[in-house]
């Protein structure tokens, strides 16, 4: 068991240096193509008209919000269960990006709801689940920073992320059931019309673009976190050398 196991994960830094440009380029390309298809090529919806184009941002951000949370929980599991030093760093780096996607999803959901139902916020099953996910993200990040010792905060937040992951399906199921209980069938559900093939292309392109963006920014934040940890280790060593 190497003592300095988290001192310098050199192998990861080498991988990040190689992968970052590829992810960044892929993100830009996919999003550009997605926007081109979404805004210009694909037709307006016969029912919703142009507002359906909001879907090309709203739906991918919902997917990414969910995916990012699994990355946070996955990192937490590998940190707590397999004691992998990078696990907690990846989880800590992914959380803010996931929160950003959740925020985008909620705001674009409201912007889509207003023209469709005349209300900024609709307690639609999926939107409500994303709202609860947003609170889970805030809880994770609040716990992360609630301790003086960053390692202590990391470990506590990792446990919360795992508990959260176990609860997400239960919450989703309960909210869906609750939604059918209270929602008269007449109101169109959030997913709107069946997705026409010409709409699928921009949707998937934007989703791919968001995913590459997530990977690129994740690598950046992990590099920053590794550097920050090395700084703390160096400062501690220098302090001990003086004493």
């Amino acid at each position: 068991m190497v003592m300095h196991r988290f001192a310098n994960p050199a192998r990861f830094l080498r991988f990040a240096a190689v992968a970052l440009p590829w992810f960044s380029a892929a993100a830009v390309l996919c999003m550009a193509a997605g926007l081109a298809f979404g805004l210009f090529v694909s037709p307006a919806d016969y029912q919703q008209g142009e507002t359906v184009r909001i879907m090309y941002v709203h739906v991918p951000s919902a997917w990414m919000a969910m995916f990012a949370y699994t990355v946070v929980a996955g990192g937490s599991i590998s940190a707590l269960v397999w004691k992998h030093p990078l696990g907690e760093i990846v989880a800590r780096a992914a959380a803010p990006i996931g929160t950003g996607f959740t925020l985008v999803c909620l705001v674009t959901g409201a912007l889509w709801g207003k023209p469709m139902w005349g209300a900024w916020w609709v307690w639609d099953a999926r939107l409500t689940s994303v709202l609860v996910l947003f609170f889970l993200y805030l809880g994770y990040m609040a716990l992360l920073g609630a301790f003086d010792d960053p390692v202590r905060g990391g470990r506590a937040a990792s446990i919360l992320a795992i508990v959260g992951l176990v609860n997400v399906p239960i919450i989703k199921w309960s909210v869906d059931w609750w939604n059918t209980l209270h929602q008269p069938a007449s109101v169109a559900r959030m997913d709107g019309p069946a997705i026409h093939s010409s709409m699928l292309v921009p949707l998937l392109l934007m989703a791919a673009g968001f995913a590459c963006y997530f990977a690129a920014v994740l690598l950046l934040r992990v590099r920053a976190e590794v550097a920050a940890r090395r700084i703390r280790t160096l400062r501690l060593a220098a302090m001990e050398a003086e004493s």
Binding site: F135, A156, I159, N167, S174, V175, W178
Partner: protein, 221 residues
Amino acid sequence: MNAFRAILVRDLRLALRQGGDAAAVVLFFVLAASLFPFGVGPEPNLLARVAAGVIWVTALLAVMLGLDRLFLADHEDGSLEGMVASPAPMLVIVLAKCLAQWLLSGLPLVLATPILAIFLQLPAEGLPALLGALLLGTPTLVLVGAIGAALVLGARRGGVLLALLVLPLTVPVLIFGVAAADAAIAGLPARPHLLVLGAMLLAALAAAPFAAAAALRQAVE
């Protein structure tokens, strides 16, 4: 398991001698729920429609309030590390403390509910289902809350952080708790909802202590 009994008896004896904490949780519950008529107006059938929901949300908040002291007192005076280092298994410690907490803050809420049902004009046929739902739901809230209480040990703003962490996890219990009462009021069977609440309680009994034990273990490190 005399360790389980010892922890349970000690916590109950301590709380009943000091008396304050248990009463505070119930008083908050009754007071907070009684504020709603001032907010939404005393009009009976409006209150009747929201009564079950108001009682459930205030019960939820009351349980959260009582929870941040769950491990804190023992953490501060060294008892917690003594217990963790003792032969008593961690799960026994967590379950004993959760049972004591439920007896002190969960059960009194259920006993105080009829008064609020009258205050908030809850239709009479809804009361039995509401009481059943609270009896099944409050222990789940205590078990899930115990994870939060263990996680925030040693954190700066423990109390409010505990609520932020745990409330999102209590949404399913809230949904089915209120649904049970609403179903009974509407003359529909409340049994399926109570069964779901029972299932959630069993799941919490099985899983929550492990998470709380893991959180405690790294809190006493």
